[in-house]
Symmetry: D2
């Protein structure tokens, strides 16, 4: 039900910049899209509401407690009638100050609420982040979101269907079925955070510090102003070897979307190993918004979805992809880098035989909940570049993560920074666990 | 929410014979389809489970109280574990004796039920038919379905999501979003039939006699045996004028899927006016399973969906469609029939000026709930052919229905049966109501 | 081979405003679109080159003998090398002064020409129009195109593949297979206009006056300046009855894309009967570029392609389509018009019994080559509105055309202009011919 | 024009087993497919004609000089009329004894031939193989094909469009634009084999021995009998780790479709490195028709096209693909193999420092025409398994090919056969050439 895909972002889609799907859905049902509600200001991707509004003439509404440069403010109690459907606004501060939710009733049937679109307040099995206003307001915002959920959402009755803004899944692939929904009754019975008393919940939230990628700030500003209108999802074309060579000379960012095995055995020097499913979560930590970006794949398969990730995060500096894929780089006899990989078994053997620096780059929460490889050090992948001084240059370094992907990104960063012996452990902590080796906690 | 499309069938999709969508959905999510549960034996279309099982190697299960010629029986309490998901079987006789429902739990989260797939027992705002075993068992089956719903579905808790087998909508077009879902709590609060006490409900059901199209019996037999495997949705091609002329000579059924206006102004003699959205509901009343079928449209637009309706109802005798559409028939100077149309205003004027026989061909339930045009007679469209003796041949006949479509079908039948003056009122009862004319009840 | 679709335009696609297909084709082949050549300035639709250039960063080139406001001029002898492919420019004035053609060689294979893209000079079985510069220059331009073809295209050798800019077929539907191609040898042997000596050809051209729709002038101006960039094909949504009623009050153009039968039996007063396939050829004769446009269909099927026709001809005033189609207009009990239809047989009977004015609205070339119904009068459909004074108001009028479509448009125009008795003959001249009735020439 | 994709098969599509595209093309044009002509018996893939005939009711015809178990024989001079189109049969033995070609005329235009579908006789820049009847008949068949081309195809006139059965390109992806066509005049002027006199051509053909993969024999037998009807392209689903582990135990073939880099750095022991574009050319050399097949990718992207290759070559034993891709294998801590890769520079350095066995696995024609790395040995990849005795076990082996793919397949085979030091040179001969190193001939 609540599928957890380790390799994808936990930040998912509210309104997608690629609006074609919404329009196609409306077309198939001979319906017009007339109202767009922004449940809150987003920080994790570019909202598509202004784009969609532009395409279909719909109006945009959002909570009154933030000064958006576009759209219309709404406040508690406002009602929108669409045929026999009633959409009611409820203010639910917590995740952000201006968060709202929309309660749907079908008046033809009853005046009971049927469904609630509750943004980032109540999620399936979770509750939205409350740390965006800094440490000093963490307790306040946690209290607010708790009140919003208990007094406003759960109060709608056990049988109301709850549609949170975030599912488990893909960002841009357009698989609506992936969006989870739940009910107030099911969450009351099963959501572990709802089992905490208000003060317990606040206390826990005060001590937590979720990672905050640098691009969040960019997204907030762009979304507050209404993101730039896109003609359409940009169509970066294939780049020839000479074009890529020239771009590297004048300065560009190479994003290598291949697997950890393919990256380790050969890659363009200084490229970033951000595998395709990891793009939405990690590109925002590493990519600059100005220097041109070039994508490298093996077979240039399914790139449309890949490009979409860049659009969603506001990167309009994606120049293209390497035509013919990485093999064409080899054929052109261009300079190539590589580093070693190892299995869990091999890592253990090396630990027993020599002094190695084992680097865990997972989210600290995973390190704590799952445990870690004995004698491994920790630094979250998103923060690695700023903390290279923690990593010794005189020891072989072996990186690992949850499943082997972030380890590849880390190994690539170290290798590009001239660490002399870098190895990525394939399969990550999952592999270690499956060998049955001892796990330190 | 509960969209009611007057012109489409109330019988909708459980498992579609066109299995491509299910397979594509599984592919997109890198999942295998391994279990198919038939909630009950269907009577309103060909079930696709055997076809799908054949394509993906899944097993089929259905309730033990019917002797299916394929698949495996299940009984109360059986559990299927798929990863952390638990699917539990509950027997819920009523709609049919062998009806079951499937309760879904996500054990990773909780042992509370999350969702229930409840077939034709509890529907959104309605309760499944209970008349399939004849008048003498109506009370018994109504009692059984009431017990199944109250004691087994509602007992799962208010917050459980209820997925009925029937939504409001299209049969084959593949718009999953059209499928309605609801919750036990919402139904308890709003479903009018659940507001009745057990005995009241039974008493009402005993007096009701929903229409029973002749093809239901065919579907039941085919579904009991497991419908014939289809290579794929048949691809009837265009037929030339000479081919259609030859088919007419040797005997064929012409199904004209155009609008009431287009049909009235010109059609191939003896064709049946079953507009494209009306096919799933009405083809089964009129079409024989042996004589070849030819489809006629104006522009041959979107025929793939049209053909799909024939497949779903087990018609493998669809020979093709008229190439070039009806206009090519005109160009070929072939024999053409036509009849008149009128507006609500014109009908009223004619009633005032002359003696006309106004024929209402709607479902009797609609006639009763909405009311009817004064001095109109009633005979349901599905039963018209068998009751032509009720329609006088010495008076002009004006047909009407809900929106003008079934009236066209009726007018065509009368015209083909040599009624000398036939007129279809465009817009049907809806138009009459909108003129503000008096409605008789 | 040279399919002639009576009901569609002879003006077909050079560069489509909907550029998605070109981009998708390039994507599938991992190619970049880098060069766009405009073979000549278009007058029959909006060119998409500037739109496509904007999307993929390609350059645009066109003949030097016209002052385009965008792109780059090229002249005789210029060569573009793309890998081993050589594209050479040859100037071929005639259709327009700045017309060019592109000769393709594959230097890896040979320096012989492989293919020639020859715009509107040599067409399959025809030669491009030469009347755009007025009567006084007809002889000059005819001579120029003859020289261009004989001295420049045929001179490339019999085996060169000839790709003309115009095929027989659809404009926007994206069916590349519809584009015809031929060879210099096949045209030399079979093209009837190439069988004429230079002076014979000029003499014939001087006497010809092909129709010149009013929107040609608009297209020329827009194309000279580089048409406005479109965000994408506009997505007109469904309009409710009240919205259409309001638009009619404030002034709008209703385009009814249904069949002649459907239109005759009922339509919104003052709507134009331009069936879907007739849009590219006839909308430009009748539709104003400022007043809002509303589309009416029966089932709102395949509207995306319909909307595309409006975009291609530069109409950005398409407001939407009637939700629910014409039947919803009937249901709403709104004012409706209708007129009669007849068959060829019935027309003949009426001619024998009474005085009727039979109006032929075909292209005068078809009237001459095919012949006409005895005692019929002629006025081309595109010119009808300006010549209503030729049509008597005191006689019943029966319209006809090639296949029944343009006759519907004509009948609708007459009916809207308060002609008291209007009838459209279904099936047109084709039907008359197929009855075996006498044809006058 | 004649794109040569080193990594794809030279054997391309005549009639594809996946018939959906043909049917969709016919649908879009409102046409029926009524006649299927098999230009000759195929040996390189399963013909789809019987499948297509079954779907659309078309008839099948083929040359009379082979005893097909289905369809109808045709002989020289037979004419098929379809509307105004005339299809004429000409017998052109050479590639096979029963080869035919179809000459297309459009009688509405002329009785000159417009186009010829010439199977594997005259190809764009090449002439079909003539070695299928063994060494003793090579001269005879070469003479026959030369006569067929000169006396029957070129005799149709320079301007006739020539459509050979084989283009350069993809097999199953459905990109019709990839199919090359040419003209008799262009071939006469540029085809190097047509520049040879008859006897010269025969003499050359007698000395040539193109590779003959083992599956050709299977295809011939299946095609002679009419291949088994497929329900549709099989839909292998994802396999879990335990399922793959079990399949490996009971015996299965693992096809690893990843890139050479990804394969080298980690793969399931004993898997075959046949990258996705190499499947049509190389699977037939290595895969058995009975033992189950499992596909392994990195991201399971675009697998539909991959599966299609298996269908086309008659493999119905494809069981599925590894769910989650190779990374899931690592995570499961399953046994993994790897070998080294090197660049051209590194290979040269090793040759200078130590004794290595450099193995060239290219087509011998490429080795001869392009030249080879000094001191390298040759054995074609398709024949490697049978000739392992030629490869020393006491030396490090470095494999190379044209671009690095076949070298990966070779390195994998050697590694699986317990060669102790195996390295694949990335980029192959192309890379060597691009470094500017000396090339031996």
């Amino acid at each position: 039900m609540r599928r957890k895909r380790e390799t994808t972002s936990r930040f998912s889609s509210d309104t997608r910049p690629s609006c074609e799907e919404y329009l196609a859905l409306a077309d198939r049902n001979e319906m017009a899209i007339t109202h767009l509600f922004e449940i809150h200001r987003n920080e994790d991707y570019l909202t598509g509401s202004r784009e969609l509004a532009n395409l279909c003439g719909a109006g945009i509404w959002h909570g009154k407690n933030f000064n958006f440069a576009y759209g219309n403010p709404v406040k508690e109690g406002e009602i929108f009638l669409i045929g026999t459907l009633e959409l009611g606004v409820i203010e639910t501060p917590g995740h952000t100050e201006e968060s709202i939710l929309i309660v749907l009733k079908d008046r033809e049937v009853s005046d009971k609420p049927y469904m609630v679109f509750c943004g980032d307040a109540l999620l399936a099995g979770d509750i939205g982040r409350t740390d965006f206003y800094g440490q000093e307001r963490k307790a306040e915002m946690a209290g607010k979101i708790h009140d919003s959920i208990v007094k406003k959402i759960l109060a709608l009755g056990e049988g109301v269907i709850v549609c949170p803004a975030h599912g488990a899944g893909s960002l841009c692939g357009g698989d609506i079925a992936d969006h989870s929904f739940t009910t107030a009754g099911y969450e009351r019975a099963t959501n572990p955070l709802l089992a905490l008393a208000r003060e317990e919940f606040i206390a826990r939230r005060v001590t937590e510090s979720p990672y905050y990628p640098p691009y969040f700030r960019t997204m907030e500003v762009l979304n507050a102003n209404g993101p730039q209108l896109l003609d359409r999802i940009p169509r970066p074309g294939p780049l020839s070897i000479p074009e890529v060579v020239a771009l590297r000379k004048s300065g560009c960012q190479i994003v290598d979307i291949r697997s950890p095995t393919s990256f380790a055995a050969g890659h363009i020097p200084h490229s970033l190993s951000i595998w395709r499913d990891g793009l939405p979560s990690f590109m925002g930590w590493f990519l600059d918004y100005n220097e041109p970006i070039v994508v490298v794949d093996d077979f240039n398969c399914g790139l449309k979805d890949v490009f979409c990730h860049f659009t969603r995060l506001g990167y309009d500096n994606l120049r293209g992809y390497l035509g013919g894929g990485f093999p064409s780089w080899s054929k052109a006899a261009q300079e190539t880098d590589s580093f070693a990989t190892c299995t869990a078994q091999e890592l253990k053997e090396r630990q027993e035989k020599e002094t190695v620096f084992v680097l865990d780059v997972r989210d600290i929460k995973n390190r704590r909940s799952v445990g870690h490889i004995p004698r491994s050090h920790h630094r979250y992948i998103g923060e690695l570049t700023e903390h290279l001084d923690e990593i010794p240059r005189d020891l072989p370094v072996i990186t690992y993560c949850d499943g082997g992907y972030k380890g590849s990104l880390a190994a690539g960063i170290l290798h590009a920074n001239r660490y002399r012996s870098v190895t990525n452990m394939l399969g990550g902590m999952t592999s270690w666990k499956n060998t049955g080796f001892w796990i330190e906690r």
